[in-house]
């Protein structure tokens, strides 16, 4: 089916084969990332954008490899720095649907400050946080979301991890994100809906994706989540930030999923008053530069 693109061209519906991985997928068998990739593909097909309008920016780690496993514009950047890179890309071309992929170490360790500030700016990008509670690529150290007492290669018994985990949804809410949600890699249908809604949302959207790492964090296996996740009740009010914050601390025997918070307000580029059209195509007015110079004449 043909439809018109943001720049006036015509585009054909994205088919699954358009997204075939450009290279062999290197995730371990049983990895939660497979479910996330499936949901991402499904979401991309459901969103009515043409293929060139998507731009995936990732950090480091297994989640960081996502852009190599789907045939879309992608930039696999540095550990923790995907959000600033994505912000710059979004500013230069607001037609792009910029989607960040980062792990719990990436976005909540090295990149925690950037996450908070992007949320505060309400940058119109989508941030998909792959949370497996452990460092996978470096093979088994604790992560910012590992539970207190978690035994890992850098948190030996008897203490295990000597501190409480970061609350990703709470951090995003306090930062000022205007769309905050959680999904589970084992529920592709819900995850797809969450990604579609997050990309459509005009502002900073954080979606935490519970993603089992069957090798280094077997405690958080498929069954662990299947037994605990539940969808937020129908009467849950996702307009209330305090309710969302309270809900974000519920992570134990029961793990809520769905949209915790959703609110619209002006987002970053609207505040910047950039030129009509794409910044990347804009030319500085040379007469205006000459005026600036001439105003400096003594």
């Amino acid at each position: 089916m043909d439809y018109q693109t943001a720049r006036g061209g015509w585009c054909t519906m994205i088919e699954r084969e358009d997204l075939e991985p450009p290279q062999e997928i290197q995730w371990c068998p049983g990895c939660g990332n497979f479910g996330i990739l499936r949901a991402l593909k499904q979401a991309v097909m459901e969103l009515s954008n043409s293929k060139h309008e998507f731009f995936l920016v990732s950090g480091i780690g297994q989640s960081g490899k996502t852009p190599h496993f789907i045939n879309l514009n992608g930039f696999h950047t540095l550990h923790g720095r995907a959000i600033p890179v994505a912000t710059g890309a979004h500013v230069a071309n607001t037609d792009l649907k910029v989607i960040v992929h980062g792990g719990d170490g990436d976005l909540l360790g090295e990149g925690l400050g950037h996450l908070m500030h992007a949320a505060r700016r309400n940058v119109n990008i989508t941030c998909l946080l792959h949370n497996n509670g452990v460092y996978g690529l470096t093979k088994g150290q604790y992560s910012p979301t590992s539970p207190h007492g978690f035994v890992s290669k850098t948190s030996p018994p008897p203490t295990g991890v000597p501190m409480d985990p970061v609350n990703p949804l709470g951090v995003a809410l306090i930062g000022g994100a205007t769309f905050v949600a959680r999904g589970f890699a084992g529920d592709i249908k819900q995850l797809t809906e969450l990604i579609v809604d997050a990309v459509k949302h005009p502002g900073f959207a954080l979606v935490e994706l519970m993603q089992p790492c069957v090798v280094f964090n077997p405690k958080w296996g498929w069954d662990f989540f299947r037994e605990r996740v539940y969808k937020l009740e129908d009467d849950y009010d996702n307009k209330s930030k305090t309710a969302a914050l309270e809900k974000s601390f519920e992570f134990g025997d029961r793990i809520p999923t769905g949209v915790f918070y959703k609110q619209e307000k002006t987002h970053f580029v609207q505040e910047l008053q950039l030129p009509e059209g794409r910044l990347r195509d804009h030319t500085n007015d040379r007469e205006e530069i000459q005026n600036i110079i001439d105003e400096m004449l003594v």
Binding site: K51, P67, N73, R81, P84, G88, A92, N284, I293, D294
Partner: protein, 571 residues
């Protein structure tokens, strides 16, 4: 005519205002000025001074010897009086109660006159100006027109008040008091200024960036780069340049890389400590071949060092910044006019070769003010280098080419998928650990170097090409070294100056030519370890004979260089 004034006092006393006023008065009357601000890293108090040189010819550096000191505190008198030249004078407010007065001391009722004649203590600036013109026996008319221009916006009564205050002080000093100073410039008459822009290096760099079609700037404030960032941000709405003060320097550079990768010409501004934080992203620019302009207004380090002082201490750090090997371009402007053109060129080179381009300024270049001719903006530079007009399908962002530069498409271009990675990648931008691919990609990136070298300008030789002695300089030390070289040449010494604006990759042809002719090569650097001389040795195998270094954080003066040269046997 070559005069120098120092205006000294505590931070917050309005030294800069008097300095700007004095400089503008002379510039408006067709003279050339050179101004530096010497200040401490504090908001109020302490001891700061502004130096203004005035001449009927271009001047390029601060000097040690001072003709007139205007002191607003006792400290300013004590700190400066040893620099006074014979026949010079120190003007200060009589309320300071400085008692051990010598002939050259000129206590005056500056504040009182401002209050009583002008009705506003702030007109003390005009009082000082009147006194200054009087001791130099210059016509008061110099001040009258200029004050009208400068304060015209504030209304007629302000102009009149200032003129009255200046004239009162002028008359009071005239005669006996003025005789304390031997200078007599009563005959100095110049027309209105022809070279009318009075700018700092930071302002000129900002203008160069605007003319190069800068579209995005993200930075974190850090002295002495901040004024450049602020200047662009202040004008960003008029030119529709996107800009953001980021949470840190790490975000600053990464955000600029995101914008540049997506097609907007981008830059970051910082100083050494901020650049330290950016280093990781410099490597990302190298690996993903993203054009970017990085401005470092160097200041003395390591760590926080001397925040408001000057040094050329980051050259080798920037040359080697980031792990791994990849090409980069390093440029160091000598003065504001050159800073404008080199900054424009920095953006062109960044796009042409898809590499990081580092512009090395320093606090001295960033903040000294001099007159330059009005800049004609001409066409805004839209040359983006090699673009993928008819891209391969699938598109190869990192296609191997003879010159190492791959045609660029941007994420968002229709019918193209653009992939990139900070990991070693194949031509498509996807991760590859294949050893042959690794070699091909390393070689592709490094293949740019000879082409870059072809594009850069040779260093300039000032003075007699065949001179016995050669001063080797780079960046902002040019001015003091140039004046030292000129003074020595006038004294009959066979000396020239070899100056580099493009530092890396290093052009060696002129260098070798001069090397063969000179009996002694002397590097002059604002650092302790002669970093540029090291770079020269590394790239050419040639060594300097003598090294002159200044690292106290204060800019060089011609006198200081001449003294150092005497010590190494130049006479």
């Amino acid at each position: 005519m070559d005069l120098s004034f120092n205006i000294g006092g505590a931070a917050g006393q309005g030294i800069n205002t008097i300095g700007d006023l004095v400089a503008q008065v002379f510039v408006k009357n067709g003279l050339y000025t050179f101004t530096i601000k010497d200040y401490m890293s504090r908001v109020r108090g302490g001891y700061n001074f502004t130096q203004i040189r005035v001449s009927d010819e271009h001047v390029h550096a601060p000097v040690h010897g001072v003709d007139v000191i205007i002191a607003l505190t006792k400290d300013a008198i004590i700190n400066q009086r040893d620099r006074l030249v014979e026949g010079g004078v120190i003007i200060f407010d009589e309320s300071l109660g400085f008692e051990e007065c010598e002939r050259c001391h000129l206590p005056l009722p500056l504040e009182e006159t401002a209050e009583e004649v002008g009705g506003n203590v702030r007109m003390m600036n005009a009082a000082a100006l009147g006194a200054l013109l009087s001791v130099l026996k210059m016509p008061i008319s110099l001040a009258e027109n200029a004050l009208a221009d400068i304060f015209g916006d504030k209304g007629e009564s302000v102009v009149e008040g200032n003129v009255k205050v200046a004239r009162t002080m002028y008359e009071e000093v005239k005669g006996e008091l003025a005789q304390r100073c031997d200078h007599d410039f009563s005959s100095v008459e110049k027309g209105p200024s022809e070279d009318r822009l009075l700018v700092t290096g930071n302002q000129a760099i900002a203008l160069g960036a605007m003319a190069a079609n800068l579209k995005w700037i993200s930075a974190y404030p850090m002295s002495p780069s901040t004024s450049l960032f602020q200047f662009i941000i202040q004008n960003s709405r008029r030119l529709q340049i996107g800009g953001l003060q980021t949470e840190d320097e790490i975000a600053g550079l990464n955000m600029a890389l995101g914008a540049s990768h997506t097609g907007a010409r981008s830059m970051v501004t910082t100083s050494g400590g901020g650049f330290s934080l950016m280093v990781e992203a410099v490597g990302l620019a190298g690996m993903a071949e993203i054009p970017i302009v990085i401005y470092n207004a160097q200041r003395p380090g390591p760590s926080t060092g001397l925040p408001t002082r000057t040094e050329q201490g980051d050259l080798l750090f920037m040359l080697h910044s980031s792990q791994g090997e990849f090409p980069r371009i390093m440029i160091a402007p000598k003065d504001p006019l050159e800073a404008y053109y080199l900054t424009k060129d920095a953006f062109r080179l960044a796009d042409k070769f898809q590499v990081p381009v580092m512009v090395l300024g320093d606090q001295h270049l960033a903040e000294f003010t001099m007159n330059i001719p009005r800049i004609e903006i001409g066409e805004v530079d839209m040359d983006r280098g090699k673009l993928a007009e008819k891209p391969d399908k699938p598109y190869k962002r990192f296609k191997v080419t003879d010159d190492g530069v791959s045609p660029r498409a941007f994420p968002g271009d229709e019918e193209v998928v653009v992939a990139a990675s900070g990991n070693t990648h194949n031509e498509f931008g996807h991760i590859s650990e294949d050893p042959d691919n690794r070699n091909a990609m390393v070689e592709k990136r490094l293949a740019k170097l000879p082409w870059i070298l072809d594009e850069l300008e040779e260093p300039k030789v000032y003075g007699d090409k065949k001179a016995d002695y050669t001063l080797l300089t780079w960046g902002s030390t040019w001015g003091a070294a140039y004046e030292a070289m000129q003074r020595l040449s006038q004294d009959g010494i066979s000396i020239n100056q070899l100056h580099f604006a493009y530092l890396y990759p290093l052009k060696t042809e002129t260098l070798k030519e001069i090397w063969e002719k000179a009996k002694k090569l002397i590097s002059v650097e604002q650092n302790a370890t002669s970093q540029f001389a090291k770079l020269v040795r590394m790239e050419s195998g040639l060594s300097v004979d003598e090294e002159i270094n200044k690292y106290d954080g204060r800019p060089m003066t011609p006198e200081w260089i001449i003294k150092q040269l005497e010590e190494v046997g130049v006479q």
